[in-house]
Symmetry: C2
Subunit: 201 residues, 2 copies
Amino acid sequence: MSTPAPKVEFWYEFASTYSYLSAMRIEDAARAAGVDVVWKPFLLGPIFFAQGWNTSPFNIYPAKGRYMVREMERLTAVRGLPFKMPSPFPQNSLLATRIAIIGHDEGWGVPFSKRVYAAQFGAGAGIADAASLGGILRDLGQDPARVIALAGQPETKDRLKQRSEEAQELGIFGAPSFLTKGELFWGDDRLEQALALATAK
Amino acid sequence: MSTPAPKVEFWYEFASTYSYLSAMRIEDAARAAGVDVVWKPFLLGPIFFAQGWNTSPFNIYPAKGRYMVREMERLTAVRGLPFKMPSPFPQNSLLATRIAIIGHDEGWGVPFSKRVYAAQFGAGAGIADAASLGGILRDLGQDPARVIALAGQPETKDRLKQRSEEAQELGIFGAPSFLTKGELFWGDDRLEQALALATAK
């Protein structure tokens, strides 16, 4: 009997700049480590709202926001990724997240998520509406009308609500977050620690 | 003529757990990189206050606080450092910071700062009052009465106020922060990036 590969859950929020960094590298990093990744799109909005925030902390705390943009410029340059902030920031990620849940069911959730990040933070495009997400779906050979209808079903909405509650119960307060063996790691810069723990004997 | 060594400013707040991590390793890391470190003790309190916070964000946002403690446990274990949270947290760091300013003038600021961190986050001891800081000063061969009197002079108080204003002007919003060549790096995990930029041609 072969042992199943160790697992890391990758909790990501589409509107999160640092989640973009992780989404673009986690497949290669996990493959090199021999780890399976479970992609978990979720919404930070309800978690932030419960903390009394009605927008991104990068908007509420301007010094932190300026630093984030500068750091994203530095990190994307080192990694050879394009970077452009969308306007407005943050983008409403509700529809994209519901679609990603469908996509992960149907096997195209990973390329969909990466394309949403590339459009939003690589090209600075809006990703909030059905039109822009429809273009991405078409590129993936999916019928936008079918997928967007599925994304709007009560069942999909409920699953996303449960996902966000699960995030809160796990103690998640930011994105990206990585979960393995009951340990939480917050931030793109913690990916290596999560992979190392997943494969530790 | 010899070229002066590249410099990194190390902005640290005594009440900051992650600053403890950096204080304990920055000398070795900088020496290995051929970089001079300028130690800059400052107060985060006024910066947090300007953002509407009256205590540490780790107290205001409990999920973040729980995560910080767990992460400190993990990181100090890997680095072979003792770790115990003081109570209450955060400790009032005003007197320690004023003393550190005197200490850096007189050449004992680095060992003083490291001992304050070791007492506070290695042993979980209070560092807010003249009695505990006096013990550290005595261990360093300093006369507590003399140093604490100096720390209370209007000139020292003014210098710390200016220091904290300088931090705000530099865009500093957390600790530790590293500054080199006009670029700001926030967090113990960014020390290597700051050292690399300092020595880049």
